[in-house]
Amino acid sequence: MIRLEKRPQPSRTWPVATPLAAVLATMFFGGLLFAALGKPPVEAIRTIFWEPLFGEFAFYYRPQLLVKGAPLVLIAIGLSLGFRAGIWNIGAEGQYIMGAIFGAGAGLAFYPLEAFYIFPIMVIAGAFGGWVWAMIPAILKTRFGTNEILVSLMLVYVAEQFLASVSLGLLKNPEGFGFPGSRNLQSWDSAHNAELIAGSGMHWGVVAALIAVIFAYVLLNRHMTGYHIRLTGEAPRAARFAGVNPARLVLFCLGTSGALAGLAGMFEVSGPSGQISIDFNVGYGFTAIIVAFLGRLHPVGILLAGGLMALTYIGGDIAQSNLQLPAAAIQVFQGMLLFFLLAFDLLTNFRIAIGKPEVA
């Protein structure tokens, strides 16, 4: 008989080993899935994880790693702060969209002016857009005790409709021959979030992501607010006695994650994507949830997890064109990863024992 025994002390090895075990399990079961789809499993896995880094065209794919990874890390860092305190912002996708709309909108208001201050204004507007959108669930939670999970999620669908509305109306390119979508910011120097070093994939979003990692690390380890976040997550009652103001914590965590998601959206629309369009968002806000958990809600872990997740995106694209692997397969792959991660987490607090329980 197989039983679970609670460990006297939480394991120290497993929290670190779990993500690795989850990745290996996902590779194995993902391979089975690919085989079931009639694709060569080993080659598919190799294409996803090896090709972008060391393959023939790696010089092209490696910079893409930064481009895809940066928004994921930026959003996940914000989410992780809340998740640690038991504040569940699930609507990062909506905040990402609003950040993009606000950022692009603020920039386009100046078109066609060329000035050094346009891009900084867009950055602030983007962060503000995401922040405002996150403040809705935050204020409703602190004022009325409304569930932030459901409200932030509902706002994703509202933001998607709003995105459709502005790309057909307010922000539509007047020279776009009637097609939906805004002007392309890539062809307007003052608003273009260009590569800082040509061919490296390094743009301002990557810089912001790295700053966010450092900021979160310092916050969590050296700052009172970070201590309050950790305390609230681990012992909510003790946190109350220690004088933590839960309402302020909710506003801070949701606000920060909203602003970071907004920034991610703004950097994306002014850089890699270039324009506001109806299907501008590609689910980074949801994938970032996986990144946050895979990174153990730890800033450095999230950095690594963001890289890994970016790898599956790029590798997935390659597998799509080389092996005709359906795009949705990668989505399943990512979902599986979260499953295995949560399942293996068991081993941190429990030991698997085989045999009959000892009689105490």
Binding site: L4, E5, K6, L37, W88, I90, I136, L140, F144, G145, T146, N147, I149, L150, V151, L153, M154, L155, V156, Y157, V158, Q161, F162, A164, S165, L168, G169, F286, I289, I290, F293, P326, A327, A328, A329, I330, Q331, V332, F333, Q334, G335, M336, L338, F339, L342, A343, D345, L346, N349, F350, P357
Partner: protein, 306 residues
């Protein structure tokens, strides 16, 4: 704009159709939450039910078989959630989210060859005389069998929760799992059954969307209905009849905004399409003051050897 084109009888009849997927998913989740488990994977189970039901209905030519398959698929997916939360002691919020993310991907994968396919039509029940009655006929007697099944299920869940022994045990587990365990009830097993019931209901709800309400398959076609169903459980204060009322209310909002779109009202289409989500938020705000009726153990994990 021509509001006179909106026929109130047809409006009510289509409101009932729009409400049914919500009702099915919400009733399932209500039972799950009554047992003390918060499963946020409703959207994922619905969309997997939608494609599984669609695929089986197309391949077999029988919509009814499709619904059976959808219920099985939803329940099967919910077992993953049950394994994570009941056996591996994983966080219920995170597990539910992973179920939704996984379900959205899986359904997209399964549905690739079904885009643009027309499903076999589910016939409406046609009772001679009754369904020919003016006004009442189309509203009460002109629907498909699953719609009536949804209402019957609501009644059954209400009766079981309120009057039967199984319902009593289920509620006990949801209110205080330690006490229920001490009394000798198998907490994990009961919750497992509740989770699977919820999964089956969500699957049915999903299939109702792909087979009857929209009759086609598109990726992500549940578009947040699963999440609205979760909000509906809060709205209903965990009471089945109020879930029915809420589902009809939301169904009404959806149908009215669609009718207004068709009638060409001056409000832009996107803002009309937002309205169900905005109203959900509004309802959540109004009702969130009262949390007294929530099961006391909701969202807390149970491990026997403590």
């Amino acid at each position: 704009m021509d509001l006179s084109a909106i026929n109130p009888v047809l409006l009510i009849a289509s409101l009932m159709v729009a409400a049914t997927p919500l009702l099915l998913a919400a009733i399932g989740e209500l039972v799950v939450e009554k047992s003390g488990v918060l499963n946020l994977g409703v959207e994922g189970m619905m969309i997997v039910g939608a494609i599984a039901g669609f695929a089986v209905a197309v391949e077999s030519g029988s919509p009814l078989l499709g619904f059976v398959a959808a219920a099985i698929a939803g329940a099967a997916l919910s077992v993953l959630f049950a394994i994570l939360t009941q056996f591996a002691q994983a966080n219920q919020v995170a597990s539910g989210l992973s179920l939704t993310l996984f379900g959205l991907g899986l359904s997209a994968l399964m549905g690739q060859s079904y885009v643009g396919v027309k499903p076999p039509r589910m016939g409406d029940i046609d009772i001679p005389v009754l369904s020919d009655l003016p006004v009442i006929g189309p509203i009460l007697f002109g629907h498909d069998i699953i719609l009536y099944f949804g209402i019957a299920l609501t009644a059954a869940v209400w009766w079981v929760l309120k009057y039967s022994r199984i319902g009593l045990v289920l509620r006990a587990v949801g209110e205080n799992h330690d006490a229920a365990h001490a009394l000798g009830y198998k907490v994990i097993r009961i919750r497992l059954a509740a989770i699977m019931f919820g999964g089956a209901c969500a699957g049915l709800g999903g299939a109702y969307i792909s087979l009857i309400r929209v009759p086609q398959w598109t990726e992500g076609m549940t578009a947040g209905i699963g999440w609205i169903a979760l909000a509906l459980v809060v709205f209903a204060s965990w009471k089945p009849w109020r879930a029915l009322l809420g589902a009809y209310l939301f169904g009404g909002v959806t149908v009215v905004q669609l009718n207004l779109q068709a009638a060409g009202v001056a409000i832009p289409v996107e803002y009309l399409a937002m309205s169900p989500y905005l109203i959900t938020i509004l309802v959540l705000v109004i009702l969130s003051a009262d949390k007294s009726s929530a099961p006391a153990s909701l969202g807390r994990n149970f491990h026997a050897s403590r």
